[in-house]
């Protein structure tokens, strides 16, 4: 295992490049230095070492036309050259290969980053030195990219450290994504096309598109000044990046063993989940944008608000349907495999219907709890990132945070498990897969105004709008009774069933 981490010919082929990059950055730094001196003299302001250091690290021309293509080139070269069957077999899985290629990438890229940072620090020779911001970096305009940074950070040294961390995170993330794409498709043309479009997209977004859209291109994330320009803050983005990197690493754990053909199978298997997540996120982001004047919890209440007999709007109805019935649909996909396809074999193995039922029901219960926790965390984090606010007051519904959380978790759990149990009954009784679709439609119809007057039909009872005129504990009682009823029906069905 250790030997494949030895020095590789890729590193050797790159060893001369950091000399060239050093020369380029050095001369560009001299050019920037001249600019700073002339504009400071022109305005009559003082300047110091941080002006040149941070400008050299944040200069968008340098990043877009030099650093980005270089990074993409190194990334593609490392991926294409380190991907072969021998290494894959020794590493055992695609996940390990991605870690391996990340390691390889950093052995090549680290000297370049080192040269960049080192030159940015050493080019200060001849400039007045200080630990504070100069008056030149505090002015708005005149081609000064550091204005917002000087406004928000006390010491420029922190900016430099955060920037280095940001570059490491952003570039690692980019390489992980690229190598995952290559591991899935194994098409070098595809990888090259993506790289070229990322590069060109960076140029186009820099020159032509409004700053909001340049958030889509990775070159933005190499410059902390540009991020301030786009987002107006940076600390949240750090968390965001950390989450994405961690999530992508965690996701990769599921990419499977090497013997499996992960090309189409794993993509198709995860496609419903991916579509579901994309839909939820789109809904969340758009809702947070359009209600950005509300507080964080209020946006949550709007997005997961749902509908009741008195409060109805198509948008919240469809949001509820996508979030909760989308989840039920994913469970239904699981059922269609668990019951229709391998049900009989598993029942024979478990010998008792109850044991079989419990064997997957406990997994589903765990999944429901996980789903609810992740949903609320995802919602809060997304809303905070999009609106950039930390205002956690609840103003829309006259209730307490405890009641909201109680309603969300307890009633949400009971409601979803009611859906799941009903779904199981339908799938168990009728072997027609069409009835699952009909059932979901009926659920949706039952949520329409004019039907569920009394709130006794247990559909959509975990909507937040029910908190307007009923207590969450009352809803818990209804849901508990209905769940018990459904459980006894299942008990009866199993008792009667001669299927075993």
């Amino acid at each position: 295992m250790k030997s494949i981490f030895r020095k590789h010919h890729i590193e050797k082929s790159f060893s001369y490049i950091w000399l060239i990059i050093g020369i380029v950055i050095f001369f560009y730094g001299l050019f920037l230095k001249k600019n700073i001196v002339s504009s400071a003299q022109h305005l009559g302001l003082t300047f110091n070492n941080w002006d040149i250091t941070l400008r050299l690290m944040n200069d968008m021309y340098l990043i877009i036309y030099f650093i980005t293509p270089l990074t993409l080139f190194i990334s593609a070269k490392v991926i294409l050259e380190s991907f072969n069957q021998q290494i894959l077999i020794r590493l055992g899985s695609y996940k390990n290969w991605i870690y391996y290629s990340l390691f390889r990438f950093w052995t090549v890229f680290f000297p370049l980053l080192f040269v960049w940072v080192l030159l940015s620090v050493f080019i200060i020779i001849g400039f007045p030195q200080s630990w504070e911001w100069s008056s030149l970096s505090a002015i708005d305009g005149y081609g000064n990219p550091l204005f917002q940074l000087a406004e928000n950070f006390r010491f420029p040294l922190i900016v430099l450290l955060e920037q280095i961390l940001l570059i490491i995170l952003a570039i690692s993330f980019m390489h992980i994504v690229l190598s995952a794409i290559y591991a899935l498709t194994k098409k070098s043309m595809f990888l090259i096309v993506i790289n070229i479009s990322v590069f060109l997209g960076g140029i186009i977004s820099f020159k032509m598109l409004p700053p909001k859209l340049s958030a889509l291109f990775p070159s933005t994330y190499l410059s902390i000044a540009k991020i301030f320009n786009v987002y107006g803050s940076v600390n949240l983005l750090f968390i965001f990046f950390l989450i994405i990197v961690l999530a992508s690493i965690l996701m990769l754990i599921n990419t499977g063993k090497i013997k499996k053909n992960i090309n189409k199978d794993s993509i198709l298997r995860n496609l419903p989940l991916v579509i579901y997540l994309v839909l939820c996120l789109t809904g969340l982001i758009v809702t947070s944008y359009s209600y950005s004047n509300l507080s964080v919890w209020d946006i949550c209440l709007v997005f997961l608000g749902g509908v009741s007999a008195d409060n109805f709007s198509y948008v919240s109805f469809f949001s509820y349907s996508i979030v909760y019935f989308g989840f039920i649909y994913l469970i239904q996909l699981f059922f269609s495999k668990e019951i229709d396809q391998i049900g009989y074999y598993k029942i024979i193995r478990y010998r008792s219907l109850y044991k079989w039922f419990w064997s997957w029901m406990k997994v589903l219960i765990f999944k429901i709890i996980l789903f609810l926790s992740l949903l609320i965390v995802l919602t809060l984090v997304t809303v905070v990132i999009v609106t950039g606010k930390f205002n956690f007051q609840i103003t829309l519904i006259p209730t307490t945070l405890f009641e909201i959380l109680y309603h969300y978790f307890i009633n949400g759990f009971l409601q979803i498990s009611f859906y799941v149990l009903i779904l199981f009954i339908v799938t168990w009784v009728s072997k027609e897969s069409i009835h699952g679709v009909v059932l979901l439609s009926i659920f949706m119809v039952l949520m329409f105004p004019g039907i569920n007057f009394t709130g006794l039909i247990p559909v959509g009872l975990n909507s937040f709008v029910y908190l307007f005129n009923s207590s969450p504990f009352f809803l818990t009682n209804i849901l508990l009774i209905m769940n018990l009823l459904v459980c006894s029906i299942i008990y009866y069905l199993f008792k009667k069933s001669l299927k075993i």
């Binding site: 809904g283 198509y314 009909v438």
Partner: protein, 259 residues
Amino acid sequence: MLATQLLVEFKKAFTFKNLITWMGIILLLPLVKFFVIKGTYQFFKPIEVFQETITTYIPLLFPALVIMVYLPLFWQEKRNDFITYTRTRVPFHIYLISKALTNAYLTASVIFLLIFVPFIFSIYIEPHIGIIDYTTMDNHTVIPEFTFSQLLPYGNIVYALIYSLWVALNAALYTTIAFMLLLVINNSFVAFSAPFLFYHIFNFITGIFGIPQYSPLSTIFPFNIVKQPLWTVGIPFLFLVMILVIIFVFFIKKRERML
């Protein structure tokens, strides 16, 4: 060859169970909604009764209804490998084409009647029976207009025919997509739910982006938004036609390996 096969398929489709299902779809759903709105709404003209009858429940059930008409029958044939044994007496492609045509035609007819029968009832029959008390109109009364109201000046029956045909055409498209997917995908639940998913996901997306005039729901049943130009209804339809073509090409490529 195709004509005889079509005749055979038609005969096979008219089972007692199917007829009951179809009658249930055509009569029961509008009837339930009609009695729900009877006492609670205020009406000025019969056309409003019709529009209110077919709103809310029927649009939501639409993607489920279109797959209920004929597809379960076809799915049973495929699941039980019945199709393999028909190859000795009828060419494979003729068999599939006749199935697809029967499916599209029957679904479209049932959905057509689902719209057309309530129209005839509420415009021509109900005023004579007098179940609904119409409020007399004064100068301030505004009858809301919806997409397709552009056709009303040409006569009630033209409106009814063209609108019902439009819904029927959509139904045929949705059910054909499910039919093609049943051929291509092994998991029948995914195939059956594809029109349902498309319908509701696009309603959601157009809803949150604030362009409900292009949502599948509001282009097929445009009674929840204000009047739009007629061309807007074509956008999701054309998109679906494109999807159908893509699935068809996929099917052609896969055909050698299947069945």
